[in-house]
Symmetry: C2
């Protein structure tokens, strides 16, 4: 055990008795960075106090990684020994902050002496003590020099005090205060600032090979360029591709995951690598790297950025297998271990071994691959199954990549135990898949999103909500029909500021493998050609909602979600507002895709800054209808045959 | 900012990806020690997990300060990646604990291979992999050697697996598991173990000089010896004396705090020191150090331990003033600063300066004084106004004293801001005065005691509840009469496991200085002689309650307090139970000292382990009456003219 007192007695001056504790944010005692986005304010708070009656001062200190000098901003006492300070965040990157607090002897003296002179006491001795404080400060400061001269000149004590009570003098004394009797946090705390797209974006998932028009032929990057207007017009920001790399032929899977592929079956894009190349190569059916670059540029022109899938695993035909067998797990018979979940075998996929003899070589190769795609304009990665790889690897990789480009965003595709999901977010992932996909009931939605957005988790984890994925076709969507797809889309797009859909969702595609939460004829195993104008599609609904999201800043925030009471156990009522209440959104969703539901709702007016309003104009941004409300107690009815949701914009009238 | 990844790449083997976080208890990230008492169990819990599907093992490691070797105890998985382990605490002192967790490759292998053979797969290769794991372990372990031989011999795979599935083999593999792929907390966490009296004791405060029989003459230690049977028979454990040191004559205060003392006025015991000596001397009117030693021994014979007041301040006549003026604050005119709270002056008291030029000398002198009294058998100190002295000083002093004798207990007499009170507890004080003294309403009692006993505060702060002190005579007691004194005593003695009263409380003394929460004719300024048999006294009530406390282990615990619903806003209902529910106490207090109150109460049967009971025998330990109850929904009526409280002992019938 460290004897923390020994160093105290090795110094001349008495140790400080000033305490700084309960700093917020501080994730796991500062082991992990809190996350913010450019344009945000970082609000730091701490308990700061000292024995006795000394007046204190505190500053928040902030710097970018690599800088030595701190930028300082004053902290102010909030209440009950809690202090706060703020920094505006204008650029992405790694930052750190600390707090320094120290006694403010001039203010302590001033307050005591003011009380004494007000009580009619003589303060001659106190004036000499005040001068003694000022004498420790630089006389080059005119206010200090003048105050000392005034005390030295003597005369009417009340008149002297009038000069000494000047706030500008107190500020000068603070500027030059001796901080050696103060305290600083024992180590600085980390902060990561992302670009805004880490928090606010609408994702659209696509298998590029399904962008074509022939069911037996791969779509190309050129075909994807043809799809860009359609996707862009729906209002999406991020276009995410499943892996675009060459696909293995050994043990290739056939349609509907059959163990034997037929000739012409394209294989699973997650069985990465063949003679054509590995993670830095492109499946020839899709095009060339030059085609890819053209697609990235075309997407950009349509306001879309490309996100790639990072699936760290290899087909048996991946170049790594020959060149670096030491990056895999070799079994006693010399074979390479394939993926399995006993008794299931996935012989088309070799997991890599992150702890093998050449782990450093493997890690560096993976970093090289990510940076290769970054150099081709990819700034967003959806990471496949990160929870089966070491968290410390992600912490290293993400940090290394963002040292090169702090704009890179990583989405964690981990559906696993809650603490493992959170640890991936703490390790640096910008966004996380969530259990939203399987949360359908009113109370479970309230509980889960309260946890995600209203606890410390919101400091480091941003839930990217997907109602379905290419792997997940929930019972709810299988049975909920068009209304079910619409209402899950409203929830995804409004419960979080960042969400996504998988292509086909807009067509309400949900035919399952019977008895499973999987898609029948999944495009994981075949080329899929779709009629994008199919009747019953919800393209207009998606387009409208993405437009509403873009226009309303309240929907750009993540941790501003608040749930409100509603009478019906099928009506979920919640709201979002901006800090200044310039944009107020109140949402009611009927969670039942089959039946009309009605009942009272109630929301506190002051949550929206509407407590003084005589009347409220409530405009449903979906239907365009408008009502005049008096108070937060209202009655709503939602018929899924018409609309499953109200998205009210609230304004004082 | 530290580059935490650089060291990773300096090692050969891959860094561990095992995570240990959210350790409990861990006060302020381990900056402060959690507190326990001998006989307790320390339960440590943490989130422990790793990527992938490896089986893990974890141990809790524990050692006394100064030891190098750790004692280990296994931790087990509770649920949701939370693990727990426990240590029995048998001796007082400073301890530390940490957690080590590591993969358990044998169990990982065993579970996967068992699944495969159950699915009818051939496991020849798996058996070779199992052997490879065993080969890393010492063959001196017979079970391991035998398992290797069995695999080498070959034959029926199911029969081989039967031997390999032996739990004893798994245990042997765990014992020898390679921990280098594991993780340990980055630093150990501190624990302080006190003797049980830190948690469970009844205190009685006495001015020794008031133990006499003549109002104009000091009582003596010999007189106090005469009082011991009376105090002991009431059931108290600790007899606390206000300062017993020589009292200054300069600016001595007279009766009722008058600025000028009359001849014969004994002065305030807190104005410590005169020509007869200072903090290590005894006021001659009380006796000699030999008399004191006799008193300590006599008290011990009566089951009482003596607690002294530690008031670090000096009268102008204290030997320190002449010998060590540098231990005080010298004003510009050469005078020593006296205590003040502008515009109030306390010219009979000089505060010491803990940060002066000879702060080390002062701190060492204060330590010497405490150890002087420890050497005279004093193991408990009530510290006067610790919040006006540096917290870091207390942290040092308490630690130094307890290195000499870990049985020493310190009570913090701080009535100040809540975070400052908590920081004193964190710095090492064993017990703390609380706001109980001013909490009278039902909801404020529930809120405050929920905070004290049901939040992290209970890990380091033990509230010692005083309904009044020599300084505090609350409005409630001034007006509440005998019933008011009785009910506040019940609350103090049952809401916490440690409480105290100030002498005279048993006589319901509460005559105030008009308009103030102070005692008229306070014995702070004069000798007080009392008639201990005065009519209307509550000696029998106090005696009965202290006896109930001693007999019922549920009342010995601090953090087992639970509040229950009651219909009336004047009836406070709460309970305490032992972990095994062998002792169940349910308490109802009528907070209104004037009127009978009645209403329903409700308590959950399973809080007392009574969920299976057909009927409950509820015996009121105050009245002796007994009832048979069915269920936790009951009706009570309490008339303060008779009794203000029920203390039910609950038993299954």
């Amino acid at each position: 055990m460290v004897d923390r007192f020994k160093p105290l007695f090795e110094r001349d001056s008495a140790p400080t008795s000033l305490i700084i504790e309960s700093v917020s944010p501080a994730i796991d005692c500062g082991r992990h960075a809190a996350k913010r986005e450019t344009g945000d304010t970082l609000d730091v708070a701490a308990d700061i106090f000292k024995d006795g009656h000394d007046r204190l001062a505190a500053v928040l200190k902030f710097r970018k990684r690599g800088e030595t000098a701190w930028r300082e901003t004053p902290m102010t006492h909030i209440d009950n020994d809690r202090w706060g300070g703020s920094v505006r965040l204008s650029e992405p990157g790694a930052f750190e902050y600390t707090i320094e607090a120290f006694p403010h002897p001039w203010r302590t003296w001033l307050e005591g002496t003011t009380k004494k002179i007000s009580a009619g006491l003589d303060i001659a001795l106190e004036l000499r003590e005040g001068a003694a404080i000022l004498e420790t400060l630089p006389r080059s400061e005119p206010l200090i020099a003048s105050a000392l001269a005034t005390i030295a000149a003597g005369g009417n004590q009340a008149l002297i005090m009038e000069e000494l009570q000047s706030p500008r003098l107190a500020a000068a004394c603070l500027t030059h205060a001796d901080r050696s009797a103060g305290a600083t946090l024992s180590y600085p705390l980390p902060l990561w600032v992302d670009r805004q797209a880490a928090r606010f974006a609408a994702w659209y998932e696509l298998f590029p090979r399904s962008a074509g028009t022939k069911p037996d032929q791969s779509g190309t990057f050129q075909d994807v360029i043809g799809q860009l207007p359609r996707i862009s017009e729906m209002g999406f920001d991020v276009l995410y591709f499943t892996p675009i790399h060459p696909i293995g032929t050994t043990k290739r899977k056939g349609k509907n995951n059959s163990v034997i592929a037929e000739p012409g079956d394209p294989g699973v894009p997650y069985a990465i690598g063949n003679a054509e190349g590995g993670h830095d190569a492109i499946e020839p059916g899709l095009g060339t790297i030059a085609d890819f670059d053209r697609l990235v540029a075309a997407a950009k022109a349509h306001g879309l950025e490309i996100a790639l899938d990072l699936a760290i695993q290899a087909s048996p035909d991946h170049p790594w297998v020959k060149e670096h067998p030491e990056w895999f797990t070799i079994r006693p018979d010399g074979s390479i271990m394939f993926a399995e979940n006993p008794p299931k075998k996935y012989e088309d996929i070799f997991p890599v071994n992150f702890s093998g003899s050449d782990w450093k070589g493997l890690w560096e190769e993976l970093k090289r691959i990510v940076l290769f795609w970054v150099s081709h304009g990819v700034l967003t990665f959806r990471v496949d199954n990160p929870h089966t790889k070491p968290t410390i690897f992600w912490e290293w990789l993400i940090d290394e990549v963002r040292r090169v480009n702090p704009n890179v965003i990583f989405l964690s595709e981990a559906f696993t135990r809650p603490k493992v999901m959170k640890s991936l977010a703490k390790s640096g992932f910008s966004q996380s898949y969530t259990y939203f996909t399987w949360r359908h009931g009113k109370q479970e939605l309230i509980d889960y999103f309260t946890e995600l957005t209203q606890t410390e988790a919101a400091e480091y984890m941003r839930g990217n909500l997907f109602p379905s994925t290419h792997d997940i076709n929930t019972w709810f969507l299988q049975t909920g029909g068009r209304a079910g797809h619409k209402l899950r889309h409203v929830l995804a797009a409004t419960l979080s500021s960042v969400y996504g859909i998988y292509s086909g969702y807009e067509l309400c595609e949900s035919t399952p493998v019977p008895g499973k939460e999987e898609h029948l004829n999944s495009e994981k195993y075949e080329y899929t050609v779709r009629d994008w104008d199919k009747s019953g599609n919800i393209v207009a609904d998606i387009t409208r909602l993405n437009a509403i999201r873009r226009v309303h800043p309240a929907l750009h925030e993540y941790d501003n979600l608040r749930f409100f009471w509603s009478e019906s156990d099928q009506l979920l009522c919640y709201g979002k507002t901006t800090p200044d209440h310039s944009d107020n959104i109140l949402i009611v969703v009927n969670l039942d895709p089959f039946n009309a539901q009605s009942g009272r709702i109630w929301f506190p007016l002051d949550d929206f800054g509407l407590e003084g309003a005589n009347a409220i104009q409530a405009t449903d941004l979906i239907s365009g209808q408008s009502w005049t409300w008096h108070g937060g107690d209202q009655w709503v009815r939602l018929d899924p045959a018409v609309e499953s949701a109200h998205i009210f914009h609230l304004e004082a009238r």
